[in-house]
């Protein structure tokens, strides 16, 4: 599904927290239809990189371009950009005071000002796809972690984004619920959704990725095809990292 059309262009991206350098000279292109998986040890800057792409972190140098438009100057209209770049968080972050369906239609109705019946129809289809249509009037607290995360994905999808960002979306889940969430993401990949995924699920990364980006200490160590990365990583650091996952 990967095309040659570049959607996101990250050039020399630099980000620090006070004295600590979080991201250092990150260069990465994300093409339309491409699934990019970012791997790396804890604290290597994976989530920070993802958050920069959604305007949740201030960038200190370099450039991020979405369809050629820079996202790092002060007059970026993030309300507009975020409709095209959706994000799903580790801890679901559904709104606890709203039902499932209210959570889903808030953005389309209030931000995109779309017709309510049309949004409801789309929400219905998406909910059916993740098998949760019968829970549309439940509150998040009445759902399991896996169900909440699938709802969070639907909430982001209902905005019709062009790119989806997944920030360790299975890290907070019980093992038996990981699968149901990953299956949804895999389904999206098959449909050609452009995605940037941060995860610790190695076999999932291998199955879903078009490109593996390995990050360490805020720098990109290597960018490889998944098969190559998992069988024959180019760098020693990546080899060390992969060894941790072998028993």
């Amino acid at each position: 599904m990967k095309t040659n059309e570049v959607l996101l262009e990250i050039k020399g991206l630099h980000k620090r927290y006070d004295e600590i350098i979080a991201l250092d000279d990150i260069n990465l292109n994300i093409n339309k239809g491409e699934v990019v998986v970012i791997l790396g040890p804890s604290g290597c800057g994976k989530s920070t990189l993802l958050r920069c792409l959604n305007g949740l972190e201030k960038v200190h140098g370099g450039d991020i371009r979405y369809r050629g438009k820079s996202l790092v100057n002060n007059d970026v209209n993030w309300q507009e950009i975020r409709q095209h770049i959706g994000m799903v968080f580790q801890n679901y972050e559904l709104f606890p005071h709203m039902t499932v369906i209210e959570n889903i239609i808030l953005g389309p109705a209030k931000v995109q000002k779309r017709d309510k019946s049309e949004v409801m129809e789309q929400a219905k289809q998406l909910l059916e796809r993740v098998g949760l249509f019968d829970r549309k009037d439940s509150y998040p607290r009445q759902l399991s972690g896996g169900q909440r995360q699938r709802i969070a994905i639907v909430r982001a999808l209902c905005m019709n984004p062009e790119i989806m960002l997944f920030d360790e979306v299975t890290a907070a889940l019980d093992p038996e619920m990981v699968r149901e969430v990953l299956d949804v993401i895999l389904g999206l990949a098959k449909q050609g959704m452009t995605m940037v995924i941060v995860t610790h699920e190695m076999s999932f990364a291998r199955a879903v990725a078009d490109k593996i980006v390995f990050l360490d200490k805020g720098r990109i160590c290597e960018i490889s095809e998944p098969n190559e990365f998992f069988t024959n990583p180019k760098t020693e650091r990546a080899q060390q990292f992969l060894n941790i996952f072998q028993y």
Partner: protein, 221 residues
């Protein structure tokens, strides 16, 4: 010792009228307090320049001076600068001045309880700042703040018993008059306690119900 029922029946209309006055003062006092509190807490939450300092000074001034003295200042003090307000207006301003800061603190605790990640979640679906406050921050903050807002409402309604000091014909004032005129101290005070209890108990129950109703914030997201 028997109660003087004749006295109680005779004075009932006076108590009813005074109770009505107290309720009116309490209602306006609480309503305006809520508005002041909400506005102040939002100013503090967004750290609005200049206004933030004014709000802080107001809160300290309001919380660290007794209501009785605030009322005396409004009623007797302001005449010096040519402002003379009716006793009821003074009572409402006094209650709101005091209640506003308590409500502001209650709302602030609620606002601060809304997690940063919930705000990011709202931002990530493209909500504007105003939409974020309206649909995400305030409902969750309210849910956390309801118990303290409720306590403040009851506190303010009780505090109305002090406004008799500036000649408002409230329950306390009526009671004192009746004691002075008829020496039926026990009956008069008994009525006073009973009327306050009858007014505040339903409010208490209503607030408990509301607390349960909006408790969603303490559950998972």
């Amino acid at each position: 010792m028997g109660l003087n029922w004749q006295f109680i029946t005779d004075s009932l209309p006076l108590y009813r009228e005074a109770a009505w006055t107290t309720l009116k003062l309490g209602f306006w006092g609480i309503l305006i307090s809520l508005i002041i509190g909400l506005v102040c807490s939002i100013i503090l939450y967004f750290r609005v320049k200049v206004l933030k300092t004014i709000v802080k000074v107001y809160i300290e001034l309001s919380r660290n001076t007794p209501l009785l003295i605030q009322l005396f200042f409004l009623y007797f003090g302001l005449t010096k600068v040519g402002i003379s307000l009716s006793e009821n207006t003074c009572a409402i301003i006094g209650l709101s001045f005091l209640g506003g800061s308590y409500m502001a603190e209650a709302f602030r605790s609620g606002l601060e309880a809304v997690s940063k990640s919930q705000i990011e979640s709202g931002l990530s679906i493209g909500l504007s700042k105003t939409q974020l406050v309206r649909y995400v921050v305030l409902p969750q903050a309210f849910s956390v703040a309801v118990p303290s807002i409720g306590a403040n409402c009851i506190f303010l309604l009780k505090e109305t018993s002090i406004v008799g000091a500036i000649a408002v014909v409230d329950l306390m004032n009526v009671t004192k008059d009746l004691i002075g005129m008829y020496y039926q101290t026990f009956e008069a005070l008994f009525m006073l306690v009973a009327v306050y209890f009858i007014m505040i108990l339903p409010l208490s129950l209503l607030l408990t119900w509301l607390e349960r109703k909006v408790r969603y914030a303490e559950f998972g997201n």
